[in-house]
């Protein structure tokens, strides 16, 4: 019989020497490294994510693009909708920082335009006589920053507000392509997020019900998911967006397209959530929570959901590029967003025929940005997926 047993309550013996020593060793281990012992899952995930260089770079790239999207009005040097007949298909005006072999204040060159007598097309050459100094926080067209403050300070532009510099050239109607791209970033990134958010709501709800309730309900939802998955998405998207009345205001169209994109996209999410729920239902710690007396709601929201939120985020990230591409393709085909809304798809509509591309090759620059966005999202999603389960 152990002596310790006979001690009255509250007078428990001190920690056995061996246990104390072992725990002290654990303590030292922590001190030398990071505070692993008390690190939450998000911290562990971040440590894992940090090892993924490509994902980190992608995160930075996307972060930058989102900043661009948020401050689009200030970053775009010109109003993206203003047409200028004297700048139709004007080529990019590069910015120079070296003059005569020496570093100098950035400047651009003006354009000289002539009308080609044969084709009646406007031709441009850089005017080496006309030097246009560039500047930061220059005065330009007035706009509302974040839709709130009236201002006319633009991030950069020609120091002299009367002169114009189009760093990426102009389009068919002489609108500044760079400004248009900056605004397109706002629409395309946000439509991707919004569409995925709607998919998330649908997917988590239906997938969660399917996985948690099981049985007949699960069967019905799964059959619906399979049916939707079996429909070729592009024709359906086209059909649905063709049904959007032409008379709708641009904002309504924007939301309608978002809805169209997400109505088909939730099935993947529903599968992920259902699978996680099924796996989680069998977990010992879920059973332990039930035995402890936890109610169903607590089991779902305190034990099951937190266990796969990270997986959901990772797979969401991987579906965003699909939505962005979906919007781009629809708009490219003229079935999605339309002027005056500017998205990358809308911009690429201008690059539809080979003649336009031959005349103004800069019009396909938006496509490159779309590629960068899609790749960045994919790398980021890969990194998140690898970090999603820090306990594996």
């Amino acid at each position: 019989m152990d002596v310790a047993r006979n001690l009255p309550n509250g007078m428990q013996p001190a920690l056995p020497a061996d246990v104390a020593e072992e725990l002290a060793a654990l303590e030292r281990e922590d001190a030398s490294g990071r505070a692993v012992a008390t690190a939450s899952q998000w911290k562990l995930m971040w440590w894992r994510f940090r090892k993924h260089t490509l994902a980190k770079v992608s995160l930075a790239v996307l972060g930058f693009l989102f900043l661009v999207a948020i401050f689009a009005d200030a970053i775009a040097p010109y109003d993206p909708t203003v047409t200028q007949s004297n700048r139709t298909y004007a080529p990019p005006q590069p910015i120079y920082i070296i003059e005569n072999g020496r570093l100098t204040w950035p400047f651009a060159l003006g354009l000289k335009s002539t009308i080609d007598a044969e084709s009646l097309r406007r031709m441009y050459v850089l005017d080496h006589e006309q030097r246009i100094d560039m500047g930061l926080f220059v005065q330009g067209e007035p706009y509302r920053l974040l839709g709130l403050f009236e201002t006319n300070t633009r991030l950069f532009g020609a120091s002299n507000g009367a002169q114009q510099v189009s760093v990426l050239g102009s389009d068919r109607l002489g609108r500044d392509l760079f400004s248009r791209m900056v605004h397109a970033t706002r629409i395309s990134l946000s439509i991707g997020l919004a569409a995925v958010f709607v998919s998330l709501l649908l997917g988590v709800t239906l997938g969660g019900i399917s996985g948690y309730v099981g049985g007949r309900v699960d069967m019905v939802i799964q059959r619906v998911v399979e049916f939707i998955d079996a429909i070729p998405s592009l024709p359906l998207w086209m059909g649905l967006s063709a049904a959007i009345p032409l008379t709708w205001p641009p904002l309504w169209v924007y939301f309608a397209i978002t809805l169209v994109l997400s109505l088909l996209g939730w099935t993947g999410m529903a599968r992920v959530v259902r699978g996680r729920f099924l796996a989680m239902r069998e977990e010992d710690f879920v059973m332990a929570a039930r035995v402890s007396g936890s109610g169903e709601r607590r089991i779902i929201f305190r034990h099951m959901l937190p266990s796969f939120v990270s997986h959901i985020i990772a797979s969401l990230t991987l579906t965003i590029p699909g939505r962005i591409l979906g919007e781009t393709s629809l708009s490219f085909l003229g079935l999605g967003l339309k002027e005056p809304i500017i998205s990358y798809g809308v911009l690429l509509q201008d690059a539809q025929n080979i003649r336009a591309v031959a005349t103004a090759p800069w019009l396909i620059v938006p496509a490159l940005v779309v590629v960068v966005i899609v790749i960045a999202y994919n790398f980021l999603g890969d990194g998140l997926r690898d970090a999603a389960d820090p306990y594996a």
Partner: protein
């Protein structure tokens, strides 16, 4: 609430006035579903008519090989499954002397009994939510049962950790910072949080290394003495069972085949399966190498068990009767229950304890 009076006459083995838990003809069937419409095509009779009683303060072990239903029995008793048992009664005597049939309680009705009936899990890694701190894990039963909050909860968690010999300062750590043995201590602390009277230990030491296994077994014995706990100890390792249990029930394919006091069961088994189990445990004693009773075949699938006595295809003593007639669990000697038609006629070999009296330190 379903309050039932214990009928002493119809109670199965071990008629005891003060039985803390009395399991009567418990059945747990799981449907096998197949096809597009999830039609039920069969049943796994994981537990098929199990009866036993637990006296307050004792340890009863359920032993057997995989698929014998021991784990399902334990989990059914704590109502760990979402579905209730298929049949039978689980009579639990509450603090006030009322007896409730846990098998028939709804989730809401079960809640007050959750405090009294707790469970320790086999896998120390899977049974602790990796995303919760030790404070939240051990404190969860207190919180969801409205027993403590805030400061009070923290103090109680500290006390529980102390009981299982972990320093209370570790309560803000996550499970990944602990070894298997330490995690099992956390699991035990959680089970003890609500001051339970019955603890079902489901293979609580099977996943641990031998040196740590001994620590946890000792701890569980100490806690039992300190807190007056009653254990239902589910295990496959007979050597472990020998150390911790007062009585042992041997299960085979969903049924109890033998139930007796530990020393009696080990020394004089009355069921051929118990004999074979004892003979097949490898002994850590090279000089005691002996001819084994090697059984033919393997444990049958509980979805498709053999007729009559489930053990007859592997039993060296089987006769025609065993193939057709299911043997009932009957009391052969005082407290020694056997489900074998020929228990009286067989002379079976147990473990010779006299030879190695001094060997164990």
């Amino acid at each position: 609430m379903h309050n039932v009076v214990l009928h002493e006459a119809d109670s199965a083995p071990n008629t005891q006035h003060a039985a803390l838990l009395q399991v009567e003809d418990l059945k747990m069937y799981f449907p096998i579903r197949k096809g597009l419409l999830q039609r039920k095509v069969g049943e796994v009779k994981a537990v098929d008519g199990v009866s036993f009683a637990l006296r307050p303060g004792e340890t009863l072990s359920l032993v057997g090989e995989s698929g014998c239903g021991k784990t399902t029995t334990g989990r059914s008793i704590v109502r760990a499954y979402k579905q209730p048992p298929s049949a039978g009664r689980i009579l639990f005597r509450g603090d006030n002397g009322h007896v409730a049939d846990l098998a028939r309680l709804s989730d809401a009705e079960m809640k007050p009994y959750r405090k009294a009936v707790q469970m320790v899990f086999q896998d120390p890694f899977a049974s602790l939510n990796p995303r919760m701190t030790v404070r939240d894990i051990v404190g969860e039963p207190l919180r969801v049962n409205g027993m403590a909050q805030g400061r009070e909860l923290e103090a109680r968690v500290a006390e529980l950790l102390h009981r299982v010999k972990l320093p209370p300062e570790f309560m803000s750590r996550y499970p990944h910072a602990f070894s298997g043995g330490q995690r099992q201590r956390i699991g035990i602390a959680r089970a003890l949080a609500t001051n339970p009277r019955l603890v079902v230990a489901d293979e609580a030491v099977s996943a641990l290394d031998v040196s740590v296994q001994a620590q946890i077994l000792n701890l569980m014995q100490d806690l039992q003495a300190e807190l007056g706990l009653t254990y239902l100890f589910v295990a496959h390792n007979l050597s472990v069972v020998r150390y911790i249990s007062d009585r042992v029930a041997v299960m085979y394919v969903g049924r109890v085949v033998e139930l007796a006091e530990t020393s009696k069961l080990f020394a004089m088994p009355r069921h051929p399966y118990t004999e074979a189990l004892l003979a097949n445990v490898p002994r850590p004693d090279p000089r005691a190498r002996r001819s084994r009773i090697v059984l033919q075949g393997e444990v049958p699938d509980p979805a498709n068990p053999p007729s009559g006595c489930h053990f007859h295809p592997r039993c060296p003593y089987a006769k025609e009767r065993c193939r057709v007639e299911i043997p009932v669990l009957r009391e052969l000697a005082s407290g020694h229950h056997v489900a074998c038609h020929f228990a009286e006629e067989l002379t079976l070999r147990g473990v010779d304890t006299s030879a190695v009296a001094g060997a164990s330190p």
